[in-house]
């Protein structure tokens, strides 16, 4: 048993900096999945860069960059089933896109247009996408954790094999909703996977100001959950760890707190996966150039179309407050 004072256990890793793969994880990644993950991580990286620019130019209100965290986000999203739900925090647009939210729909969300599924009501991010079971989450840190637990708990009550994957940063572990949510998860054995991206910083506050415990995964012990640490720059390790958590959830073994450690040190996670594709002869310079130009064109087109779409009509503000507008909203709308 770890104690508070002992150093955290070393994280699970699979993909080495030189692109070689730990043989124990060799079966985790088919050729098709390896290429799909890489292409999606490149999309996430390119889109992120463009959103940073748009935010600097004042064209979108806000952007929480996930550059360097793509492996943790995409790897986790790829590890769960289509019937499962995702509760993102503010940095997981790549998870929504992986699940099938169209790039164009995301662009409309970012710009708050009339064509946005959220009808221009939310500042970016997170996005939601009903068809892909990506839930609507507020930017209030940690609030989505009990939602994910409750959804997973409901599935367990109904004896249906549905799990919930909830993302948050290490700052959220200081919130009451983190404690409450994981405590309920432990008690109810809800099939939930709580993925904490530990990048060491919550805006300007270091992880040492969030917790005195030896890392974040260790907090799982107090809730009766499994806690695992994983190299968040290693998409294969994240995939393996979340898949295992999903399998345990299906087996009735309850939830898992995954601490995905994301650092700026070491090889960039996108490059690490590209090197791996090269070792498997799945990638060439020509293919890289083609991907980069295609992704850039897709992103630019989606953002340009959204920029041209315009805001929703004023009358839409009064819709969806209730299922049916009560008299006061009818009056205000008139």
């Amino acid at each position: 048993m770890q104690t508070l004072a002992s150093p955290p256990t070393p994280p699970t890793g699979a993909l080495r900096d030189d692109g070689s793969l730990d043989p124990a994880h060799a079966a985790a990644l088919s050729d098709e999945l390896a290429v799909a993950l890489y292409e999606h991580m490149v999309l996430a990286r390119v889109l992120d860069g463009q959103l940073i620019e748009l935010q600097r130019e004042g064209k979108i209100a806000q952007h929480s960059s996930a550059i360097g965290e793509e492996a943790a986000i995409v790897g986790a999203a790829a590890a769960i089933g289509d019937q499962d739900w995702i509760f993102p925090s503010s940095r997981e647009f790549a998870a929504a896109l992986w699940r099938g939210m169209p790039l164009g729909a995301y662009a409309h969300h970012a710009m708050g247009t009339a064509l946005d599924a959220g009808r221009g009501r939310n500042a970016p991010d997170p996005p939601f996408w009903r068809a892909a079971r990506v839930a609507s989450v507020s930017p209030l840190v940690g609030t989505q954790i009990p939602h994910a637990v409750g959804l997973a708990w409901a599935a367990r009550m109904r004896k249906e094999d549905v799990a919930a994957l909830v993302f948050f940063g290490e700052g959220a572990t200081s919130s009451g909703d983190f404690h409450t949510g994981l405590n309920f998860a432990g008690v109810t054995r809800a099939p939930v996977i709580a993925l904490c991206r530990n990048n060491g910083w919550a805006t300007g506050t270091p992880a040492s100001r969030q917790t005195a415990s030896a890392g974040f995964a260790i907090k799982a012990i107090a809730y009766g959950l499994r806690g695992v640490r994983v190299d968040g720059g290693d998409v294969v390790a994240v995939l393996s760890v979340v898949r295992e958590a999903r399998a345990r959830a299906a087996a009735g073994e309850g939830g898992t707190l995954v601490e995905a450690i994301v650092t700026e040190a070491g090889v960039d996670p996108v490059l690490r996966l590209r090197r791996h594709l090269e070792t498997r002869a799945l990638w060439t310079i020509e293919r890289e150039q083609r991907l980069q130009s295609e992704v850039r064109a897709d992103v630019d087109r989606a953002l340009a179309e959204a920029a041209a779409a315009g805001p929703p009509g004023i009358e839409t503000m009064f819709d969806d407050v209730y299922a049916k507008r009560p008299w006061n909203l009818d009056r205000e709308r008139a």
Binding site: R121, S138, P146, R158, T180, F184
Partner: protein, 325 residues
Amino acid sequence: MTTPMNMVQAINDALRHEMRRDDRVVVLGEDVGKVGGVFRVTQGLWDEFGDDRVVDTPLSEGGIIGTAIGMALYGLVPVPEIQFADFIYPAYDQIVSELAKLRWRSGGEYPAKMVVRTPVGGGIRGGLYHSQSPESLFIHVAGLKVVCPSNPRDAKGLLLASIRDLDPVLFFEPKRVYRAAKGEVPEGDFVVPLGQAAVVREGADVTVIAWGAMLYEAIAAADEAKRQGIGCEILDLRTLWPVDVEAITASVKKTGRVVVVHEAPKTCGFGAEIVALINERAFVHLEAPPARVCGFDTPFPYALEMDYLPLAHRILPAIVDTAKY
């Protein structure tokens, strides 16, 4: 067919009826299971429906509402119980920032429907943390409906309407009359539509607006006023939001005089909004300034609760003054 019941029995009957009819309905909260809740409102439900429908939760109101939101997203219809309305504040963020806004912020794609049941009000020697009436804190929040029945018949009918409504409902149960208010309750399926006030007594001189336990104080004051020759028209709002503004306006246009009664503190209490609506819609019909008889702008006291509550002896002078203005 009707059966004589108190409010506890009527609410229990409504829950049992709807849980039999709709297997998506689940009850959760602190000690709602085997114990049957702090006021025994859910007694016997656990025996009939079991652990997956009647759930004892960890002691965390934020967790109860937060996880209930997840259940609602999954398609269940949670009916969480908060033991006392005074305990609801740890869940306030989840109710205000999440539950109330989910339908709107998701463009209608992720409504989270639930009925939060909780006992309100004083008069049971509960002290300042078991007596509060926080209805206006929820009425102020777009996206919530707020209900407060005064009698067993309405309690059953309004609770069934609330559970079947598509929006989240705060269902405030006046605990002072949980067992004291008795009456005939229709058996089986019975709905009282939301948004409709009841004219409890017709009268020509002064409109008295009340709800929950204070309705009985308003009636007692009106009885005494009648002996003094003043006829009161008494409105039981039943649904606080969306409030039945037509019923209020119609009565005030008739009497030209109005007294609003509530337990919550006067300042920014729901009475303020009611008076503002009357001013907007019936100003030229008013013969006297609208009066409010409310709790004081203090925390709720333990030893002095009967001095704090707007009981009949405080309502009567307001009725008389308003009638004679």
